[in-house]
C-alpha cells in the first residue's frame, strides 16, 4: 500500500463546493457544501446511491463543471479562477480521467490512444512512443498495441483508459465507476492496477466514484455521498496503520 504524504497543501482540496442546476423555475441542488482533501499517495473512494451527486462532484473536481459556490484547489491552485484555455491545460497536465464508458478514441489504435495524451502535452516522437510502451507494459497491454479499442475486451479497454490517464503522470486520477461495466475478475484487476500505478508514482492520488463494494478494500478512505452531501470520511481497514508522514 502506498504511503500517504500529508502536507499543508493537499493534492486536491474541495472547500464548501456546491452545485445547483436550474431549468426555468426548477432548481436542483446536486451538491451541497462538500468539503474534502485528498493527499498525495491517497486512494479515496466516494460511494453513494444513484443521483446522490457523486459524478457532479467528480466533474467539479476535474475542472469540467464550474461550481455554483465554493472552491476547488488542485495543487493549491484555485482552478476555477483560471481561464478556459488554462483550465484545459491544467487538466491535461495534472488530472487523469477514467470513465465507466472508457471513452477511448475508436479511430486510433491502442498505442495511439495513449500517445495522443502525450502529444497534446507536447511529448512527441520517440519519447511519446517509449512512454506509451512503458504504460502499456505496466497495464499488460503491450501485446495489443496495434489493435483498435473495439477489438479489446471490456477489461482491456478500461486498462487502456487507465494507461491514457497515467500518460502525463497526473497529480490525481478521477475515476467514475471504472468497474461498473466489467465482470468481477476484470474489475478487481483494473482497481489493482490503478492502486499499483499510484504506488509506483505514476499518479499521485486516486479518487474513485463507485458502487462496487469490492473496491472499498483498496481505498485508504471512503466518503459517502447522499442527497448532494458528502458525509464524514471513514478510514478503511487497510488504511489504518499506514505510515503517514507530515
Amino acid at each position: 500500500m502506498s504511503a500517504i504524504i500529508r502536507t499543508e497543501t493537499p493534492t486536491l482540496l474541495l472547500e464548501a463546493v456546491s452545485k445547483v442546476f436550474r431549468s426555468g423555475d426548477v432548481e436542483v441542488r446536486a451538491v451541497t457544501a462538500a468539503d474534502a482533501a485528498v493527499q498525495q499517495g491517497e486512494i479515496v473512494a466516494i460511494v453513494g446511491p444513484s443521483g446522490s451527486g457523486k459524478t457532479t462532484l467528480l466533474s467539479m473536481a476535474g475542472c469540467l463543471l464550474t461550481p455554483s459556490a465554493g472552491k476547488v484547489r488542485l495543487l493549491g491552485e484555485d482552478i476555477y479562477r483560471l481561464g478556459q484555455r488554462q483550465r484545459a491545460a491544467f487538466r491535461l497536465r495534472h488530472i487523469g480521467f477514467v470513465f465507466q464508458a472508457y471513452n477511448l478514441l475508436p479511430s486510433l489504435d491502442v498505442r495511439e490512444n495513449v500517445e495522443i495524451a502525450l502529444n497534446l502535452a507536447g511529448i512527441t516522437g520517440a519519447a511519446a512512443h517509449e512512454r506509451a510502451g512503458n504504460l502499456l507494459e505496466l497495464l499488460q497491454l503491450e501485446h495489443r498495441a496495434r489493435l483498435r479499442p473495439g477489438n479489446l475486451s471490456g477489461g482491456e479497454q478500461q486498462r487502456l483508459a487507465i494507461a491514457r490517464a497515467l500518460a502525463n503522470r497526473p497529480e490525481v486520477i478521477l475515476a467514475d465507476e471504472p468497474t461498473a461495466s466489467l465482470d468481477s475478475q476484470a474489475g478487481h484487476r483494473v482497481m489493482e492496477l490503478m492502486r499499483l500505478a499510484v504506488e509506483a508514482g505514476e499518479a499521485h492520488s486516486l479518487v474513485v466514484v463507485t458502487h462496487d463494494v469490492r473496491i472499498l478494500d483498496l481505498a485508504h478512505r471512503v466518503l459517502f455521498m447522499e442527497d448532494g452531501q458528502l458525509r464524514p470520511a471513514i478510514e478503511s481497514a487497510r488504511a489504518t496503520g499506514l505510515a503517514a508522514s507530515t
Partner: protein
C-alpha cells in the same frame, strides 16, 4: 462511407466535365487528324461545322503551287441523311479527291479507301447503327453508294462521317467545280504560322487558318451550341457533388463529436481540435479526389464504348479546378462541425 461519398461526388463532377471536354475535343476529330497543316476557306468562314464555304476547284491547284506546300486537296463538306437497311441517320458527308491523298479517312477498320464514284467509306459507328457492312448499299442525299471501307475516329456528337469522291459530292450538292475547303500539308520545316500569315496577306479573299485555330474555333462553336446541355448537367453535377462533399464533411465530423468531447475533457486545446477537423477535411478531400479520378479513368472507356459519339477526356485544368473545389468545399463543410465542436460539452464523457 464518407470517403465513398466524396469519391462519388468527385466522380460526378469530373466525369460530367470530362464528357463535355471529351465530346468537344472529339467533335474536331476530322480537323485534328486528317493530316492538313493549313485550312483555307472563303473569307469570313472561320469554322468547318456550321459555315458554308465555297471555293473554286482552281484554288486547289493555285494553292498547291504556293512555296512550302507539299500537298493540297479540296474537300466538299455537307450535312446529309445516310440510309441503309430501312434505317436513316444524320451524317456528315465529306467529298475528297482520292488521288491527292488528303482529306479522306486516316484510319480504316476494314476495306479500302474511296476509288470510284459509287464508293463510300462509312464511319464504323454509323455503319453499326445502320446495320451496314462492306458491300452494303447505302443512300446519301439521294445518291446510291456501296460501302467499300469502314473508318474509325470519325464519329462525333455533331455527326458521323461518310467519305465519298469529291466530284460525286459536288454533283449531289449541285455545285460542280466548287469545294468547301482546301487542305494544305506543308513541307517539313516550313513555319506554319508564318506561312498562314503570308498567304493570308497575299490572298485577302481567303480565310487561311492553322489546324489549331480552326479546331479551336469549331470547339468553341460546338461548345456553345451542341454541348450546352452537357454543360448544364456538368454545372448541376458540380453543385450536387459539392453539396455531397459539404454534407459528408459535416456528418463525418458530427459523428465524432463525442470523441472531440473526450479530447476536450482530457485537455486538448481548441486549436488542436480545429486542426484535427481541418486535416481530416483535407485528407478526405484529397483521398476522395484520387478515388474519383480513378473512377473516371475506369468509367470513361466504358462510357465511350456504350456511346461512341461522345468522348471522355480529363483535362489537367479541369482536374485542378475539381480538386480546388473539392478541397474548398471540404473545408467549408468543416466549418459547421468546428462551430459545433466549440459547443461540445466535455461532460459528455460522464454519460453512460
Amino acid at each position: 462511407m464518407s470517403l465513398g461519398a466524396l469519391a462519388f461526388a468527385v466522380l460526378l463532377v469530373l466525369l460530367l466535365r470530362a464528357i463535355m471536354d471529351g465530346t468537344v475535343a472529339k467533335s474536331t476529330s476530322y480537323i485534328d487528324h486528317v493530316g492538313a497543316d493549313v485550312f483555307v476557306a472563303t473569307r469570313g468562314v472561320t469554322n468547318m461545322s456550321l459555315a458554308a464555304s465555297n471555293l473554286p476547284d482552281e484554288a486547289v491547284a493555285a494553292l498547291a503551287a504556293q512555296p512550302g506546300v507539299a500537298q493540297a486537296g479540296g474537300i466538299v463538306r455537307m450535312n446529309a441523311i445516310v440510309g441503309a437497311n430501312s434505317r436513316t441517320r444524320p451524317g456528315i458527308l465529306i467529298g475528297y479527291d482520292p488521288a491527292r491523298e488528303l482529306g479522306g479517312p486516316w484510319r480504316l477498320n476494314a476495306g479500302r479507301g474511296v476509288e470510284g464514284a459509287a464508293d463510300v467509306v462509312l464511319d464504323s459507328v454509323l455503319a453499326d447503327e445502320l446495320g451496314a457492312k462492306l458491300g452494303t448499299h447505302v443512300s446519301i442525299a439521294g445518291g446510291d453508294f456501296q460501302v467499300v471501307g469502314l473508318s474509325s475516329g470519325t464519329a462525333a456528337i455533331a455527326g458521323k462521317v461518310a467519305f465519298i469522291q469529291k466530284e460525286r459530292a459536288q454533283e449531289l450538292l449541285h455545285l460542280p467545280g466548287v469545294a468547301s475547303f482546301v487542305l494544305l500539308r506543308l513541307e517539313p520545316g516550313v513555319n506554319v504560322a508564318g506561312f498562314v500569315t503570308s498567304l493570308a496577306a497575299a490572298q485577302p479573299d481567303l480565310e487561311v487558318m492553322t489546324r489549331q485555330s480552326l479546331s479551336d474555333n469549331d470547339r468553341q462553336l460546338l461548345a456553345r451550341l451542341f454541348v450546352q446541355p452537357i454543360n448544364v448537367m456538368s454545372t448541376v453535377g458540380l453543385l450536387v457533388g459539392l453539396a455531397i462533399v459539404g454534407l459528408t464533411m459535416y456528418t463525418t465530423t458530427a459523428e465524432r463529436l463525442h470523441d472531440f468531447g473526450v479530447l476536450k475533457a482530457i485537455g486538448a486545446p481548441s486549436t488542436f481540435l480545429f486542426r484535427t477537423v481541418l486535416t481530416q477535411a483535407l485528407f478526405l478531400g484529397c483521398a476522395g479526389f484520387v478515388l474519383g479520378v480513378a473512377g473516371v479513368a475506369a468509367a470513361g472507356p466504358l462510357i465511350v464504348r456504350a456511346v461512341p459519339d461522345i468522348g471522355v477526356q480529363v483535362n489537367a485544368g479541369a482536374a485542378a479546378q475539381a480538386l480546388a473545389a473539392v478541397l474548398g468545399m471540404s473545408l467549408a463543410g468543416a466549418v459547421g462541425p468546428v462551430v459545433r465542436i466549440l459547443g461540445v460539452d466535455p461532460l459528455v464523457v460522464f454519460k453512460r
